[in-house]
């Protein structure tokens, strides 16, 4: 189960004053607001609820479609071209999963019935707080580039299938999936982020930019479900320098 949780990015840069030719970055700080797109990801979970006095096996493959998110960032220059900042990103998505279950027979031990179907309405959200050290590289008039990286704190909320409801009738040798029951799991864990940003300054303090950021953390939501938060994402938005 790997997840690309994308979260945010922010990049930052402050635009060098138009016409500046020097590699020195003189702004006091930066801010950015981005929209981004995080690629699809998936993970699986296997739970064993008790049904008819026997352990069932419910195997769910969760598909998290490519999803847009937003992030905002701000930081201050602390030494020459080096800045320290914080980026906060968020995304949420209502997705689904494919369920493959082995459900116990109501009358007999060890005679499981295979049940397959889809689960829907399973919400996934991620919040990433990226602490970043950023190096600004003013490369040409109006253009700036930056590299950044640092630790990230992820918080993931995920609806997990915990059991299935069946459509069945005597003699109960077969059954079909009537629905699923789910529970929301929330966990946080530290990870990392690295990336780069390119900005074009339309005004001395206002520009637009695009970034690529890779964030990642492996988070165990339950004993059986581990997701990968973050991932590679690309985004773009407003760039401010001050």
């Amino acid at each position: 189960m790997r997840t690309a949780a994308a979260i945010v990015t922010l990049a930052v840069l402050h635009a060098a004053p138009a016409g500046a030719q020097s590699s020195a970055w003189t702004d006091r700080g930066y801010a950015a607001i981005n929209g981004f797109y995080q690629p699809s990801t998936s993970f699986t979970d296997l739970v064993r609820p008790t049904a008819f006095g026997e352990a069932a096996q419910v195997d769910t493959r969760y598909g998290i479609a490519a999803v847009p998110g937003v992030d905002a960032a701000a930081g201050v220059r602390v030494w020459r071209n080096l800045a320290i900042g914080v980026d906060v990103g968020f995304l949420t998505k209502s997705g689904g999963g494919s369920v493959s279950a082995q459900m116990p027979h109501p009358f007999y031990f060890n005679r499981p019935r295979a049940v397959t179907g889809d689960a829907s309405g399973l919400t996934r959200s991620e919040t990433a707080v990226n602490v970043e050290a950023l190096v600004m590289l003013p490369v040409r008039p109006h253009w700036q580039a930056a590299l950044f990286g640092g630790p990230t704190w992820f918080t993931v909320n995920q609806d997990l299938v915990t059991n299935v409801t069946l459509a069945e009738s005597y003699p109960y040798d077969t059954a079909s999936l009537a629905g699923t029951t789910s529970a929301r799991q929330a966990r946080g864990k530290a990870g990392f982020n690295v990336g780069g940003d390119v900005a074009y300054m339309l005004r001395p303090h206002v520009g637009i930019g695009a970034d690529v950021r890779f964030t990642r953390a492996r988070i165990a939501l339950t004993d059986t479900a581990t997701v990968t938060a973050g991932g590679a994402h690309i985004g773009g938005g407003l760039r401010l320098r001050f």
């Binding site: 008819f52 006095g53 026997e54 027979h105 109501p106 009358f107 007999y108 031990f109 005597y170 003699p171 109960y172 040798d173």
Partner: protein, 676 residues
């Protein structure tokens, strides 16, 4: 001769009914119908006969239903009436398809000239039924006026039920004199011993009610309720006899749904498994095909009371299980499982509760299927009783193979019916695969007519086994190419369909042979492996269409018949079970001879005996008459010695006159009396 005669000690082979020759007998004869498309003209004649009798209301339809196993087929069951009075055992099962009649099996009585106006009013008949068995009336408002065929002729009789002691009896009395003609128990029982279960995990389908869980299955289409009598024999008999109704407190219960009473668990779960077997294998919905509820009674007595219990209570409610078709909460049948016996109540043996063995549970419940279909009841032709038990054994074992893995350990399937009832195992079992290993017969001539139907039924169950597994019959030496265990469903379906759709109530082994072959042909085609296997199997166990009369002599018959002879007989001695069987024609026995040979083969005694003596001796499974109706049997058990010789042989020869006035003579095989 008279000295030798005095040396005979007759004893009952079976505890079948007490019979009294009656003066109201009337002429008539039964005719077995067994017609299929193998003989189109015979089938047409049988069909015309049925149609004609139906038009004249001599046959009246009892049930009509479509065939769950063969599409487009329909089965009708008719009862025969004589001047508006039902003839017991006169019934016909007709199978038809879209292209006409397929088969007709049954027994039709013709030539009756019996007055159907009873001298006794119904109320007196009811009293006579009760007093005849020293019991009390139990059969509803009024007894049924019937024509009763017995080996010595036809009788106008009142029939009904009475409670006598612990049992419910079906009783027939003469409708003119009130004398007892016939009685038999409604309890179809098994003998066994046991206690406890084998610790296997089972799922209990229970109903939640008022903070507890009841052994009342809410998930299957038929109500399956297991009652816990909590060791109260009085309560048990009150419910069986319908003296009082059941309450919720009678139902087995558990507070947390983790059941800790293995007797209730086994009974309840196995009843559900049996329902599943019927449905999945045969498409049958419950015992009657219409989801008849199942009532299961457990703990009828307390195990700790066994030492002080009377023998009849021990025999009925401890080491026994039985089905009663008229018992239970609504009078529609109940199964009672005995409590078993602690270790060493019988030396060296522990008897488990009778619900501990799935094949036994399925056996008892199959009696419920039979009671609502072919109605085989062992009366008035004893082979029907053996068939009743045989079909219960067959589907008891088959249900086991359907639900459990085959094996020799407890809670596995095997052909050793009742294996799990005892520890050590198998002490009360009947072997379908090797009948000799449990001292049961594997050949028709070894039957003990009028004897224990469980004993005689093994001949049929062995045929069923051979049709599946194949092999060689030890007595006949004939081999059978079975269909194989992987195809056991074919043989099961052929037998089940014969039981539930084709066979009449007074079926014989011979008729069952024809019906099962017909069934296999219907299901799998003429010449199919299943039809061939069944035909070979019946050949192997010596069951052929009964046309000519025959006689059989079985030394040392079934265990119940091998009790010591009374005084006056030298040692060593032998108990000889002798059966005389009429074929297609009724017989009037005129003479019989009894020859004894010494160990060198020289004739030692040659006794020439007359008809009255035949009636005197052959009264053990009939009223005692020198007249035998077609398709019926007469039997006796004779204890004899060889004047001190330790081995020898015996031969019985019968001379009789048939319906055409011809003299016929037939003999038993010359049978070796093994060294003693």
């Amino acid at each position: 001769m008279s000295d030798t005669l005095r040396s005979f000690r007759c004893m009952a082979i079976a505890a079948c009914a007490a019979l009294v020759p009656a003066a109201s007998s009337a002429q008539g004869r039964p005719t077995a119908l067994a017609a299929t498309r193998a003989d189109v003209s015979a089938l047409r004649a049988a069909d015309d006969l049925v149609e004609g009798l139906a038009r004249s209301r001599a046959l009246r339809i009892r049930a009509s239903q479509s065939d769950p196993l063969v599409g487009g087929r329909r089965h009708e069951r008719f009862d025969q009436f004589h001047r508006g009075v039902r003839i017991v055992g006169g019934d016909v099962a007709r199978q038809s398809g879209s292209d006409g009649t397929v088969s007709v099996f049954g027994m039709i009585h013709s030539g009756l000239d019996i007055d159907v106006d009873p001298a006794l009013p119904a109320e007196r008949g009811r009293e006579a039924i009760a007093s005849a068995v020293s019991g009390r009336w139990f059969g509803g408002d009024a007894p049924e006026l019937v024509v009763l065929p017995l080996p010595d002729g036809y009788h106008l009789a009142y029939g009904g039920q009475a409670i006598a002691g612990l049992e419910i009896l079906t009783v027939y009395v003469d409708a003119n004199s009130g004398r007892l003609l016939q009685q038999y128990s409604d309890f179809q029982r098994e003998i066994g011993t046991g206690k406890g279960t084998y610790g296997d995990d089972k799922k209990v389908s229970a109903r939640a009610a008022s903070g507890t869980f009841l052994a009342d299955d809410p998930m299957r289409p038929a109500a399956i309720t297991t009652y816990d009598m909590k060791g109260s024999l009085a309560r048990t008999t009150a419910i069986l006899n319908r003296v009082s109704g059941v309450t919720m407190s009678d139902i087995g219960a558990d507070t947390d749904n983790v059941w800790n009473d293995p007797t209730v668990v086994d009974a309840h779960v196995y009843a559900g498994w049996y329902y599943d077997y019927l449905f999945k294998r045969f498409g049958r919905r419950g015992l009657d095909g219409n989801n008849l509820r199942m009532a299961i009674l457990t703990h009828p007595v307390r195990l700790e009371d066994i030492a002080s219990a009377p023998p009849d209570v021990v025999g009925l409610y401890y080491v026994n299980a039985f089905f009663c078709g008229t018992c239970g909460p609504d009078g529609r049948g109940a199964v009672t499982f005995g409590e078993g016996a602690p270790r060493n109540f019988f030396p060296g043996v522990e008897v488990k509760p009778f619900s501990a063995s799935f094949d036994v549970v399925a056996h008892e419940l199959t009696h419920g299927v039979t009671a609502t279909s072919a109605r085989l009841n062992g009366f008035p032709y004893s082979e029907a009783g053996a068939l009743n038990e045989a079909f219960s054994d067959i589907f008891g074992a088959s249900a086991g193979f359907f639900q459990l893995p085959a094996g020799t350990a407890p809670v596995t399937a095997s052909y050793l019916l009742g294996r799990d009832l005892t520890v050590p195992s198998g002490l009360l079992a009947r072997s379908m695969s090797n009948p000799a290993s449990t001292r049961d017969p594997d050949f028709y001539a070894q039957r003990n007519i009028g004897g224990d139907p469980h004993f005689n039924g093994v001949i049929v169950t062995h045929a069923f086994y051979l049709a599946i597994e194949g092999g060689t019959n030890r007595t006949s030496g004939l081999s059978v190419a079975g269909v194989g265990a992987a195809n056991r469903d074919q043989i099961e379906k052929a037998f089940f369909r014969a039981l539930t759709s084709l066979l009449p109530s007074n079926s014989t082994f011979a008729l069952t042979r024809q019906a099962t072959i017909q069934s296999a042909s219907d299901l799998y085609g003429a010449g199919s492996p299943a039809e061939r296997a069944i035909t070979q199997a019946w050949d192997a166990v010596g069951v052929q269409p009964r046309t000519a009369p025959s006689a059989a002599l079985l030394p040392n018959p079934a265990p119940p018949s091998t009790a010591s002879c009374a005084g006056g007989v030298l040692n060593p001695h032998w108990v000889l079970g002798i059966t005389v069987s009429a074929g297609a024609s009724s017989l009037q026995v005129t003479q019989w001879t009894f020859d004894l040979f010494d160990r060198a083969g020289a004739l030692q005694d040659h006794l020439v005996l007359d008809a009255p003596t035949f009636a005197q001796f052959f009264g053990q499974c009939g009223p005692g008459s020198s007249r035998l109706l077609a398709q019926s049997d007469a039997c006796t058990a004779i204890c004899t010695d060889l004047n001190g010789d330790t081995s020898g042989a015996a031969l019985v020869t019968i001379t009789a006159t048939d319906e055409a006035g011809r003299s016929v003579t037939f003999s038993t095989p010359r049978t070796v009396l093994a060294p003693r």
